[in-house]
Symmetry: C2
Amino acid sequence: MSTVDDVSRPSRLADPDEGISIEELGLAARNHALPLEALRYDVTPVGLHYLLIHYDIPELDAERHLLTVDGRVDRPLTVDLAALRARPRVTRRVTLECAGNGRALLTPRPVSQPWLSEAVGTAEWTGTPLAPLLREAGLSTDAVDVVFSGADHGVERGVEQDYQRGLPVAEALREEVLLAYEMNGAPLLPQHGAPLRLVVPGWYGMAHVKWLTRITVLDREFDGYQNAVAYRLRTSVDDPGVPVTRIEPRALVQPPGFPDFMSRTRVVRPGPCTVRGRAWSGHAPVTSVEVTTDGGLTWAAATLAPATPEGRHGPGGQNEQDGRDGQKRPDDDGRWAWRSWRYEWPATPGRYTLGARASDASGRTQPVEQPWNRGGFANNLVQRVEVVVTGERQVSEPRRLSP
Amino acid sequence: MSTVDDVSRPSRLADPDEGISIEELGLAARNHALPLEALRYDVTPVGLHYLLIHYDIPELDAERHLLTVDGRVDRPLTVDLAALRARPRVTRRVTLECAGNGRALLTPRPVSQPWLSEAVGTAEWTGTPLAPLLREAGLSTDAVDVVFSGADHGVERGVEQDYQRGLPVAEALREEVLLAYEMNGAPLLPQHGAPLRLVVPGWYGMAHVKWLTRITVLDREFDGYQNAVAYRLRTSVDDPGVPVTRIEPRALVQPPGFPDFMSRTRVVRPGPCTVRGRAWSGHAPVTSVEVTTDGGLTWAAATLAPATPEGRHGPGGQNEQDGRDGQKRPDDDGRWAWRSWRYEWPATPGRYTLGARASDASGRTQPVEQPWNRGGFANNLVQRVEVVVTGERQVSEPRRLSP
């Protein structure tokens, strides 16, 4: 007799020489990363922000959508989207990163969504703060975890579930946490949680529950699948591990020059080259970025731009695209968004491996040796961008059409 | 001395047991497919439409962007976007598919962008017809090919190039061909060719040149890389092959039930199950769709919906998202867009492999045995959707929170 158990297999590590499987490729085709050249945009254009969808994108009707707050509260309540929109409205610029970013580059490789280094994006999220709504419902004094339930439904390692995540009550009450109904000035798209999602600045993506239907306050730690089984840092199958929470510091290089189609190796002409990128951390402000051009042997300081949301909107920020360049600025100081950096590189002919590492005010930095755990979470190994600086100023220029 | 030749390697086929490489994965992470549940939308929401970007997304300024028409014309001309917007405005609903769709499922596998079955999307493209502009420039009587140049720049198999494609003059003069500046009622996004792209209804995606800067009329066949080398159906390296042109018929199943996270195998409850999907062809109208539940051994007729653009807009069609539901209908009969179909399946417990095959008025249909060529192009092998119909009506229901 077939049951849901028949569709799942246990988690595993790839064999040493095992290529990416068709199953992993299937996840990569659905859940896309940020094309690295899109690091040029302060706010990631719609459709370029990374996506991780555990099951299917659900089909929800914004007009009829309801959010229920229940559990250990004095006054359980149910509100519709119009009621949420009538509440105080806040916009925050926030960088989101998937907790599994970098997983496919680990040895051994945990077999799951096979991210390289680009599972990140920055958006302007508009919604209403969560804390006042929780206070209106009246949190019990014994409240421990707040559980957020999404409408996406599936099976994971044999467990049928709606996607649910618990958040400690102190985190849920942070003023920055939003019930978001807009992204980059437009209603949420289906793949980003339409019509309502949670945004928890500083935390990895798994906390930002999409397609939000229910908020339940518990007098104990939530022991559901995504907290107790999935998103934990474990050294082995038997290790209970510790929860994945905030984003570790990371810097990414916007690859200079132009790419080869297949290898994505970059071609750079000799001469002065401004290398740019972004850096972020969910623990504390980024305090420095260093750049390497030799794969991590030597490092030089990059120049860090101020942490403000006042940077230009590149072409394609949706605000601009929509001709809505009244450009309402976010209601924060940009501390939850990535920061720009640049490094002046005198490029001379040869082969190089570029990378960058961020450090933050909590003392955290990025490793050159891989940080490994069985789920491949919170992995902030330094990126490797292969570059060839050509020996001549002009080599095989593009075809000129002489009609 | 390093040159651009050092960044490319020759095209190749994967070894029989070779998994997907990190290079192929890197392309999959950039160039995403349509999540199959998004087949539910008549018009694909922004960000879910498939993407294939050969090099980097270029950074272009719509305000300063110019399009030049030159070559074998009497009156070469250069126009800006305002001038193009002042010309007759047309909206067409068009299904685009990547010519390499299905490549990663071939044996042997051509090593390139590793598409499974989902490199497709349908959008409403708004722009101005190309043919009147070409006529104003005055096509020479000896015109043979019209070459479209994009601003994206890179190296491919050792050839540095701006992306360029030639189109036979008779195709370029078809009334349906558009210079498009909007997608789903909003300005083009950077990844879809902002601020200007070509749309050639019925042709695979490689013809719809993005980031369009130049149109050059030739008195001969264009022998540039993308026409003479890349997009050709070859049986071997030495075979000159024939050009890839129009989209072969294909049907896709919108997977029923709900998925397992890792395997994407579907779980369906026993009972009546309406299986839905889409079907399209660039050669001629789709005339029938058949469905299999046993991996192609037996087939049954599906019910095909009319070919009109009058279907509902699902939630998330950008028109609706933007509250612009004045819903201007496309200026065509929907003949270039996919059609809906459905099949009533009495699901009983067991394991199934669902698939569908489309046939069109030109007599073309989809094969169950793979059609193979060295580039993996125009491959319309029948999809395989693995389904488990559970033996019980309710199995391991999602956790109920009792606070």
